[in-house]
């Protein structure tokens, strides 16, 4: 792994202390990462899921996307998953796990400030926002 990828993983382990963090090397300097037991908020079932993603060899120049969550992810109110950004029937690279893909690009990604940990927080934030939007629509 490159030093920047190792640093990105260390920041994730620090920011998500208490959650299991698994990594698999991509073989070219990057890493596949899975963070366990994250709370997605009340809009989704199961409410808790792992989230996985790739840190490419050119991280942090490269955006961290897409993310992956558990394969049986569904909305709590039974409505179809919003596609995009959610897309079921996918696989988490590096771990060969069936997964639901969460495709959230960051057009304003700035390698000087953005990190994989911050991006994961934004992804979790997006899941939480869906509950707020569902309530507002109701």
């Amino acid at each position: 792994m490159t030093p920047d990828v190792e640093k990105g993983i260390a920041e994730i382990q620090h920011a998500f202390a208490g959650h299991g963090v698994e990594t698999v090397e991509t073989g070219d300097g990057g890493a596949y990462v899975i963070v366990a037991d994250l709370d997605l908020g009340p809009a989704f079932v199961p409410r808790s899921s792992w989230i996985g993603f790739t840190l490419p060899y050119n991280y942090p120049l490269a955006d961290v996307y897409p993310h992956f969550a558990c394969p049986d992810l569904a909305t709590a109110d039974g409505t179809p998953l919003p596609t995009p950004p959610l897309n079921s029937g996918q696989s988490m690279p590096g771990f060969n796990r069936p997964a639901t893909m969460v495709s959230r690009r960051s057009p304003r990604w700035n390698p000087a400030h953005d990190t994989a940990a911050l991006k994961l927080m934004r992804i979790i934030g997006w899941f939480a926002e869906q509950a707020a939007q569902t309530r507002a629509a109701a």
Binding site: G30, P56, Y57, V64, P84, M101, A112
Partner: protein, 492 residues
């Protein structure tokens, strides 16, 4: 304790090193050393290093000016000296940052300069101790006069090296020496007409340059041909692909044989088509053939590989100039890093044909973006997309699997004549910049976009972001770190 090496006196036989100064640092140094008072002034430069078979280059990163009477004071054994505190602060900074410490002062005169006897004695008294502090990094001194620079660099291995050439990365690249350069050799008959533009010195310089071309397709191959005919002595051409029949209209001197068209024609058995694909000429081999036909003694490193691989990108770190003629965001990212980390100026060139959803042809443009360490980088101008870097970093099978929206896989339209303008503009810019013939900076900026259908030329001044991790001057930028930072490539 490790014994100190025995240093030999500086001699003409020692391998000369090169120093590269970005424009803003050179201007600030010039203003500090030569304010018009005809006195001596002092400073320290920190520099990154790059070591290759071509020699050692020092890449100036930071300038610390010494205040007269505070940091630069009258000396007992020399006219002026840097104070121990100033030296101590900056040698420790260089040690911590793994940079080369260079003490700088000036003499008077024009066109030639050298260290005085007291200067050299002070190096011999002080530099062994500075090397101890520097912990594995070289230390040294520079002395400047107007239009001249000399250096005395001491290494932990016990060698001493002069600075043979200093390259100043202005819009016109300047080269200065300790002594006036010797008269260039007479030009060969073949170069008579072109050397009447830039002189025998320009022709001789072109022959000594090493120039990298990233991409040997419809833009890169004509660039290689032009550079070879200009007389550029050493070309490094990088491309992973082989010639295909659809390339032939845009690759000068390519033939159907290069594309193995009798095997690859649709309708042939798939096994034959695949065999033809494997037997087709690599584009870099075609580029080498084109260059050698133009100039049979030119050195051409034909690198069939992906610029994203570390051993491929490393071939460019000691180039004098780079052409980016490949239009992936990964190639842009690595080119941009090479320009700033290794202080190699370059130009991005390409053409683009916009196609609407209904197939209608939109704007057709050729772009030219000179990129220098102080000129505004591709990151600052949002010309590298982080999401595209992610896409391009994935194996093709993973990328395909992750697509859930229909994506356009049709090849981009491309015409040789549309490429020609960018090729000519880029090679003109290079030729004029390295031979010192560019006129003063364009007030509207050096980034150019020519819209062919509308016959409009648009220019823009590149933006610069102070917190850029590549062109920024802050502590964590890769700027001028040379071998002390890693390129954004696979396996680095």
């Amino acid at each position: 304790m490790k014994p100190r090496p025995q240093f030999l006196p500086a001699s003409a036989e020692a391998e000369a090193w090169q120093l590269v100064l970005p424009e803003e640092l050179a201007d600030a140094l010039d203003a500090h050393l030569f304010p018009g008072d005809e006195d001596e002034h002092g400073a320290v430069i920190s520099a990154g290093m790059v070591r290759t078979s071509r020699g050692v280059r020092l890449l100036a990163r930071e300038l610390f000016v010494a205040s007269d009477g505070v940091d630069f004071v009258p000396g007992r054994k020399a006219y002026r000296r840097l104070t121990p505190q100033f030296v101590n602060d900056h040698i420790r900074h260089c040690r911590d940052e793994r940079l080369v410490y260079l003490a700088v002062h000036n003499h008077h005169g024009h066109g030639s300069v050298g260290f005085s006897e007291p200067d050299l004695r002070s190096h011999e008294r002080g530099y062994p101790a500075l090397l101890d502090i520097a912990k594995g990094m070289p230390v040294g001194a520079l002395v400047l006069a107007h239009g001249a620079l000399a250096g005395d660099i001491w290494t932990p291995e016990g060698t001493r090296h002069p600075i043979g050439e200093t390259v100043i990365l202005r819009r016109n690249v300047e080269r200065i020496y300790p002594l006036p350069a010797a008269a260039p050799p007479d030009r060969a008959e073949i170069d008579d007409r072109q050397a009447r533009v830039y002189g025998n010195a320009g022709q001789d310089l072109l022959g000594r340059l090493k120039v990298g071309v990233i991409g040997a397709g419809g833009v890169g191959l004509p660039i290689v041909a032009f550079l070879a005919r200009l007389g550029v002595g050493h070309l490094v051409v990088i491309d992973p692909e082989r010639v295909e029949i659809t390339n032939l209209p845009r690759l000068p001197e390519s033939t159907r044989r290069d594309a193995m068209s009798w095997l690859t024609t649709p309708g042939r058995p798939l096994a034959l088509q695949r065999l033809g694909g494997r037997l087709a000429t690599p584009k870099v081999r075609l580029a080498k053939r084109v260059a050698r036909r133009a100039r049979k003694n030119s050195i051409v490193d034909a690198v069939r590989g992906d610029i994203a691989d570390v051993d491929v990108a490393q071939q460019l770190i000691d180039c004098d100039y780079l052409f980016l003629a490949a239009d992936t965001h990964t190639a842009r990212s690595i080119f941009n890093a090479l320009v700033h980390q290794y202080l190699v100026p370059g130009v991005q060139v390409g053409s683009h044909v916009a196609v609407g959803g209904d197939g209608d042809i939109g704007k057709i443009a050729s772009v030219l973006r000179p990129v220098t360490p102080d000129g505004g980088c591709l990151w600052c101008n949002e010309l590298i997309r982080p999401d595209k870097l992610t896409d391009e970093s994935l194996p093709a099978a993973v990328r395909r699997a992750q697509r859930y929206l229909p994506m356009e896989d049709a090849p981009a339209p491309s015409v040789i004549t549309l490429n020609a303008r960018g090729v000519a503009d880029a090679t003109d810019h290079f030729m004029l910049a390295v031979t010192g013939l560019l006129e003063s900076s364009e007030t509207n900026g050096d980034f150019r976009r020519y819209e062919t259908r509308a016959d409009k030329l648009r220019t823009s001044i590149p933006r610069r972001s102070p917190d850029c991790r590549e062109c920024g001057t802050h502590a964590s930028s890769i700027r001028a770190r040379g071998d002390g930072a890693r390129l954004p490539v696979r396996g680095a």
